[in-house]
């Protein structure tokens, strides 16, 4: 028996008719056409489906869509604002932090959460924070470099703006 869910996604209210057992990851992709969120496993290891729920990184395959009612959901499609890339998106591009791109949306969303919690993470802290996001292409090195670069940008951005 399907039921209606009303979800706040990337700032807009979206509704869908879903089975109660439907995972948020599937509903985002299949019902809301937000295919930037990827599915790379069925055991919640790979992190390709990571989105932000009320600002925290969540693997959207670990949550039923009906559980997300009333939450603020941000997917990769909603990360850039007014056509400007988020500093993490920019840094992944600059530092060659992606190759096939499949893990990238989830990796970036996890990093958004990390940098919100810790504005100046060490390499070790970054590697620990993203260990639930698998990448088979990059060997992680440039992902770490990208997150470090974005952290620096985000740290520098606020005072720089305040000064000007």
């Amino acid at each position: 028996m399907k039921r209606t869910v009303s979800l706040s996604v990337n700032g807009a209210t979206r509704t869908a008719e879903v089975e109660p057992r439907a995972l948020l990851a599937h509903v985002l992709r299949d019902d809301l056409d937000l295919t930037g969120t990827h599915i790379g496993c069925d055991t919640s290891q790979c992190g390709a489906c990571t989105v932000l729920i009320d600002g925290r990184a969540v693997k959207s395959c670990t949550m039923l869509a009906v559980q997300a009612e009333g939450c603020q959901i941000t997917t990769i499609e909603g990360l850039a604002t007014n056509g400007n890339l988020h500093p993490l998106q920019q840094a992944f591009w600059e530092k060659h932090g992606l190759q096939c791109g499949f893990c990238t949306p989830g990796m970036i969303m996890t990093a958004v959460d990390l940098l919100a919690q810790n504005s100046n993470p060490s390499e070790g802290e970054i590697r620990h924070a993203i260990e639930g996001n698998y990448c088979r292409c990059t060997g992680y090195q440039n992902i770490v470099a990208a997150i470090q670069a974005a952290a620096a940008t985000l740290r520098g951005a606020t005072p720089a703006r305040a000064a000007s």
């Binding site: 790379g40 790979c46 990769i76 992944f92 591009w93 992606l98 949306p105 993203i130 770490v144």
Partner: protein, 786 residues
């Protein structure tokens, strides 16, 4: 004007990937889309009895259910496409859905098509199958012994082939040798684990007779051909689109039964059909890699000259011969037994063996990592036997840089190299002498430090089509490009290769933009759609740049030659009097008389004023078939510390010095090395596909298979030397696989070096703490060995 070739510019494919706007196969949606799910055998080996689909057919939302018997007469079994000659190869048919027998856990048995993904999956549970289980055998050495369970009626002892490579006289070399070493090496099964699972969307239009297949493919033209064969429909009615592809590492070379079943369902039901595997299905139903048991020997003089190498290899193929499977442990492995060295006497025997396991095929490096690993393990073992530094043994046996082109004992001719150069550079980066001193000091404190050297040469840039034909590859290995210049001068380039993460939308645009004096933004690279791209052979075997990139260069040059005629006509000058400067032709001696490439392109396209005999339009096609393979090389160094209490291996430093010719985009080259090295470190330290005695895959999910995580992996220090290849005008070699080829041996050699004081000679990878700890206990006489 600075060239783009050699510049580490940002990738042009990234904006869509970092914003979630890319389209992977599972993202494709079509009106009326329905879903396919495949029932897979839970048994490794069983006689297949009745497959009762009645209840499934009656389930809500179900449109159709098929068992093997329903389709056997309508389709051609999945073909093996690399029929290696002179090895008595037997490739029994691989039905699209199992018929009479299943031969691995994951073998397709039946399929359901339903209105939703969930309905299709639910209905699989309603199919009742009678299995009569048979004994399983997943170890390739055991599988070809007398009395092993037999998979195929017409393949005695499961022996798919016995292939021999010989050069010089190895038996005589061993008989006369001053020093001999031997090892039994297991190169474990691996799960390729491209982050994007496989998927297919098939759409057949009965009105036009056209079939369109979106598929996770590294080679859409090969998929087109194989689909047409399996479905028995004309090739020109099949269009294959490989959209964004989320990694492959070889696992998306084959055209699997699953993609073809989606096509068949669409043809029958008149609606578009989507199939997407989940990860657990991927681990059972998508090809695996490696799976060798090897008996290997090396001999030489007491002063370190290698005189011979012998191997006996049992290469597991799984239940059937996958697309390229027979070529991997033979042509791509055995022919590379000389490695980076002048080994005069080589004899190798490779037995390809069917086992009740998922089929094995090309996985990143495909045969060359296995070859490099066994050679480099043997070199270290020999060095220890004769009491020489392993670096010195390598130096003494390298093919000297002035000896190229050099023909090794297996018959291959290496194109170019400077092996001492990469070794010296790597040793300098580490400060090898200082590390040896530190190691000595640590040993006195009871700490176990080690350094592993891995010097490799590999064969890639596959390859001359004539050779492909001679070694039984079922296709050509040239590649292609169409360069099309629009009236405004903007350029689209259609290529036969299929990048899926390697960045050729950027590097190929760099090649073309340089040719026309353009910014890179003026050139777009188009790939993956057989409707628009010329016949090509795809992306694998580190061939895309060396072969496909050269085709791009040649097509751009052809376009430029024509544009030059137009420019000369417009300037009322002789072509011979024009010289190219930045982005335009200038009449020699009259710098203000110039026509840019874009101006010539406009005139060629509008054709108002063309020289006599010149056709309108500005585009060219090039097919490039190389005269030889290319042979990248390098030296990787790894230092480790082993904790003797826990067996934990910690990588201290990892240094990769590679030579792939001149890098078009150094940033991308470095990224390829990083990824390749980490995949190799995963193989060396933690990855292994494990089957139990019944043939059940114990590492059947990502929870159980140890994909390297960020927190487990070291930082890689990279450097390069540049030795151009004479095989193509760009001078480029390949770099997609070098990291994986080199790194496995570097890590294992380092651990064995660390544990040398305990008398440990060899531990089979993956060097998990449990294995290392057990080896230490055994060496100490504590009986903790396996």
């Amino acid at each position: 004007m600075p060239t783009l070739f050699g510049s580490g510019i940002k990738r042009r494919e990234d904006p869509r990937l970092i914003t979630g706007r890319a389209t992977y196969t599972d993202d494709v949606k079509l009106p009326g889309l329905i879903y396919l799910a495949i029932l897979r055998s839970p048994y490794a080996h069983a006689k297949l009895g009745k497959v009762d689909t009645k209840a499934a057919k009656a389930a809500p939302g179900v449109l159709a259910v098929y068992a093997g018997a329903d389709i056997t007469d309508r389709v051609v079994p999945v073909p093996c496409a690399w029929n290696v000659p002179n090895c008595n190869l037997k490739t029994p048919p691989h039905p699209l859905l199992a018929h009479q027998k299943v031969r691995y856990v994951g073998d397709g048995v039946a399929m359901v098509i339903a209105e939703s993904r969930a309905a299709a999956r639910d209905a699989l549970d309603l199919i009742e199958v009678d299995y009569e289980p048979l004994k399983a055998v997943t170890d390739p050495e055991r599988a070809c012994q007398q009395g092993a369970p037999q998979l195929h009626a017409d393949v005695p002892n499961n022996l798919a082939f016995t292939w021999v490579v010989a050069g010089g006289n190895a038996d005589e070399a061993f008989a006369k040798a001053e020093a001999k070493v031997s090892l039994r090496i297991v190169q474990q099964r691996l799960l390729p684990t491209a982050m994007e699972p496989r998927a297919a969307v098939a759409s057949y239009n009965a009105g036009t007779g056209q079939l369109t297949l979106w598929a996770t493919s590294q080679n859409p033209h090969i998929h087109r051909f194989l689909c047409s064969v399996m479905l028995k429909i004309p090739e020109h009615r099949v269009r294959v689109i490989a959209p964004e592809v989320g990694g492959g590492f070889g696992s998306k070379i084959p055209c699997y039964a699953d993609e073809v079943l989606a096509c068949l369902a669409s043809m029958d039901l008149g609606r578009p059909v989507k199939w997407t595997e989940d990860r657990s299905e991927n681990y059972k139903a998508t090809i695996h890699g490696r799976d060798h048991v090897e008996y290997v020997e090396m001999c030489g003089t007491r002063d370190g000259k290698i005189t011979g190498l012998r191997t006996r290899v049992y290469a597991g193929l799984g239940g059937y011969a996958s697309t390229a499977a027979p070529g991997v442990p033979t042509i791509l492995h055995g022919l590379m037994y000389s490695g980076a060295y002048t080994i005069p006497n080589i004899h190798g025997t490779v037995h390809g063996v069917y086992t009740t396991a998922t089929p094995v095929d090309a996985y990143r490096g495909a045969g060359r990592p296995e070859a490099t690993y066994l050679i480099e393990r043997l070199v270290d073992t020999l060095a220890r036997e004769i009491g020489m530094d392993p670096v010195e043994v390598r130096r003494k046996n390298f093919i000297p840089k002035d000896a190229f082109p050099y023909t090794v004992a297996t018959g291959l001719t290496y194109d170019s190299g400077n092996y001492h150069g990469t070794l010296d550079k790597a040793l300098g980066m580490l400060d090898y002498g200082a590390f040896r001193a530190e190691q000595e000091k640590a040993r006195q404190q009871g700490r176990y430090l080690g350094v592993g050297v891995s010097s490799y040469a590999e064969i890639c840039g596959l390859g001359p089509s004539q050779v492909a034909g001679a070694v039984g590859f079922g296709g050509g290995l040239y590649d292609s490009a169409v360069v099309r210049v629009y009236p405004t001068g903007m350029v689209r380039v259609y290529i036969g290769t299929k990048p899926h993460g390697q960045g050729e939308e950027t590097t190929f645009a760099q090649i073309v933009a340089d040719e026309f004096g353009y910014p890179v933004e003026s050139v777009e690279i188009v790939h993956g759609d057989t409707e628009s791209t010329p016949q090509g052979w795809g992306t694998y075997g580190s061939r895309t740049t060396a072969v496909g990139g050269t085709a791009v260069k040649l097509a751009a040059q052809r376009v430029k030659e024509k544009a030059k005629k137009v420019a000369a006509h417009l300037l009322e000058a002789n072509e011979a009097d024009l010289e190219w400067k930045d982005d335009a032709w200038v009449v020699r001696g009259s710098p203000d008389k110039r026509k840019s490439f874009a101006e010539a392109a406009l005139m060629a396209n509008v054709a108002w004023n063309l020289p006599a005999g010149v056709e309108p339009g500005l585009e060219a096609t090039a097919f490039f078939d190389p005269t030889n393979f290319v042979y990248p090389f390098g030296t990787h160094l790894c230092t480790v510390e082993v904790n003797p209490e826990t067996g934990q291996v910690t990588v201290l430093r990892y240094i990769a010095v590679d030579d792939c010719g001149p890098p078009i985009n150094p940033m991308i080259v470095e990224g390829q090395v990083h990824g390749g090295v980490i995949q190799g470190i995963g193989e060396a330290l933690q990855e292994m596909a494990v089957y139990d005695a019944e043939g059940q895959l114990l590492t059947g999910t990502m929870m159980d298979y140890a994909v390297p995580k960020a927190s487990q992996m070291p930082k890689i220090e990279t450097a390069h030397t540049v030795t151009p290849s004479p095989v193509n005008p760009l001078g480029v070699k390949g770099v997609g696989e070098t990291g994986t080829i080199a790194s496995v041996a570097a890590v294992v050699n380092a651990v064995c070096d660390a544990l040398a004081p305990l008398g440990i000679k060899h531990i089979d990878k993956p060097l998990t703490p449990a294995r290392v700890w057990a080896a230490i206990q055994q060496a100490k006489g504590n009986g903790g060995g396996r």
